[in-house]
């Protein structure tokens, strides 16, 4: 039987030649149409980057070790990579509008992952974001704080040091993915070669599950930071109220440790809300602090104490306890960390106690 090879060869040839023609067209377009030559990125009227145009602004910044926060890896779905593009950003894109307020649009805030570099651009990036770096680290210690919160200590590799303000956060990069998650730093800013995080296991959460189940002492991890507008106002001498339950203790612990380390003189009150005794942690350490420092008061409260807890302390939501405990005093400032409903309720109570809304700092998560 004679086999007609042409019925195999012709389709293959047709496919290959048409695909090659299209690929050639695209390669041509990529080289001559999508290239924008050298573009200059000017940051805060000072630093200049010379780049080959055509890609997203965020990728150039990351290439040049400027770590703008981004949780989605440049897909335009998290809205974290906001910065001011003063010139050369082109018109606002429909992909950005859902993440920007009217106020931000007026102040030319853009999403760095959506702005393409086609000409010289001028940016304004907050100084603290420019200070963010990427750190390689090794896990030094993992311990259980409660049934669902673990404490992780990261030792930074080599001689790298992290300079942060008490209350700021870092991003943990999940290996082999482009995913990041933000966690507040729990350690004292004076400790510059280690970073301590408190991570609550979120049911179904990608990063917290990875950190709780897969991470082991000795593993390498990558952190970027520090980030965040929530930090201790070091020059203020006002009395301090801290509120934070669960892993919201992390930034508060950093703030309190820093205050003691710098021998702060003002009064400090820490309200810690939990459901049951099994959700409390660091109680003994904080009570020890209370004995040692006359200006520190620790107020734990349980909202639903179990019978076997034999709880003799405050009972109720932390906001009810604050209402009962706090006195009217204008000369106070507050640091809150926790879920949005708790923070909104706490802000209401604090302002009713005479505290100026501008003196209330918070981190909702």
């Amino acid at each position: 039987m004679e086999l007609n090879y042409m019925i195999f060869i012709t389709p293959v040839l047709v496919m290959v030649s048409i695909a090659a023609a299209l690929a050639g067209l695209l390669a041509f377009a990529d080289k001559y149409i999508a290239s924008y030559g050298e573009c200059k990125i000017v940051i805060n009227k000072g630093k200049e980057l010379i780049v080959e145009g055509g890609n997203a602004l965020l990728s150039y910044l990351v290439d040049n070790k400027i770590f703008i926060p981004s949780a989605c890896g440049g897909k335009g779905t998290c809205g974290y990579c906001k910065l001011k593009v003063l010139e050369g950003g082109g018109p606002l894109l429909p992909t950005e509008t859902p993440y920007l307020t009217k106020q931000e649009v007026l102040h030319s805030v853009r999403l760095a992952c959506q702005v393409k570099i086609k000409r010289d651009v001028e940016l304004a990036i907050p100084e603290d974001l420019l200070a963010a770096e990427q750190f390689k680290s090794v896990i030094e210690k993992i311990e259980d704080l409660t049934h669902d919160i673990k404490r992780f200590v990261f030792k930074l590799s080599g001689s790298s040091k992290i300079n942060f303000k008490a209350g700021q956060y870092v991003q943990f990069c999940i290996p082999d993915t482009t995913e990041f998650r933000a966690y507040s730093i729990a350690s004292d800013p004076g400790t510059k070669d280690r970073v301590e995080l408190m991570v609550r296991l979120v049911p179904g959460g990608l990063c917290s599950t990875y950190m709780h189940e897969a991470l082991e002492v000795g593993d390498e991890a990558c952190l970027t930071g520090p980030y965040g507008e929530f930090f201790l106002q070091e020059n203020s001498k006002k009395d301090i109220i801290c509120v934070g339950g669960g892993c919201g203790m992390a930034p508060i612990k950093s703030i309190i440790n820093h205050l003691f380390a710098t021998n702060a003189a003002q009064n400090i009150t820490y309200f810690f809300g939990a459901r049951q005794k099994k959700d409390l942690f660091y109680t003994e350490e904080l009570e020890r602090f209370e004995k040692k420092h006359k200006n520190f008061e620790f107020v734990p409260a349980l909202s639903e104490p179990a019978k076997e807890d034999e709880w003799t302390g405050e009972v109720g939501f932390i906001t009810q306890v604050m209402q009962k405990h706090l006195k009217y005093n204008k000369n106070q400032e507050a640091y809150l960390c926790g879920p949005p409903p708790m923070i909104d309720a706490a802000i209401g109570i604090l302002t009713s106690k005479g505290i100026n809304i501008n003196d209330i700092y918070y981190d909702k998560f």
Binding site: T10, M15, L22, L26, A29, A34, G90, P91, K118
Partner: protein
């Protein structure tokens, strides 16, 4: 066949969205506001017309003479994808105004079934070149009419009390089916 008849049929009696239920993903997900629906619609009109205009010669001038017509499924997809990429680069470089209105929608419709569907119908119904282009353009306009009507209805839904389980795509699918029933009223006016 009369070009006007084809155009009219693609708008009403043979609407690509409401009669054939093609291009449903963007029809459901991008129909929240009239403005974005219009942007998406324009992108569909544009890409459908251009791809049909390119796919016709590929089919009749290359595949048919070489007797390899069966390749058309694969080849149509490749040409559509490559063309959309190319058009995107061109608009981005030379037509910044168009880029703002169409830009983000172009990559979304690269693999849209309505676009491929139009190219396949064009072959099945043995249209001439001009007929194919008119058919593709009309199908795009018909799809745009359908998605704008849908977004108009959905903007009223913002204030409606919809059962929890039906919110979002659920109620949109129901509305789409009622709209399709309404479009069935046009059936029989013209045939293609």
């Amino acid at each position: 066949m009369n070009l006007f008849v084809i155009f009219f049929a693609t708008l009403f009696t043979h609407n690509i969205a409401l009669t054939y239920f093609l291009g449903m993903c963007p029809f459901i997900s991008v129909s929240r506001s009239i403005k974005t629906a219009l942007g998406m619609g324009l992108a569909v009109v544009f890409v459908m017309t251009v791809t049909a205009a390119i796919n016709w010669p590929i089919y009749y001038k290359i595949l048919v003479p070489l007797e390899v017509e069966f390749l058309y499924y694969v080849l149509f997809i490749i040409t559509i994808a490559a063309l959309v990429q190319f058009v995107e680069m061109v608009t981005e470089r030379f037509l910044p105004v168009l880029q703002v209105t169409l830009g983000v929608f172009l990559p979304l419709i690269t693999v849209n079934c309505a676009i491929l569907g139009v190219s396949l119908f064009m072959v099945l119904r043995k249209y001439s070149y001009l007929e194919s282009v008119v058919f593709a353009f009309g199908s795009g306009v018909g799809w745009t009419i359908a998605i704008i009507a849908m977004s108009g209805i959905r903007s009223k839904l913002l204030f409606a009390d919809i059962p929890e389980a039906l919110k979002g795509p659920g109620i949109t699918m129901i509305i789409a089916s009622i709209m399709a029933l309404a479009f069935m009223g046009f059936a029989g006016m013209v045939g293609i």
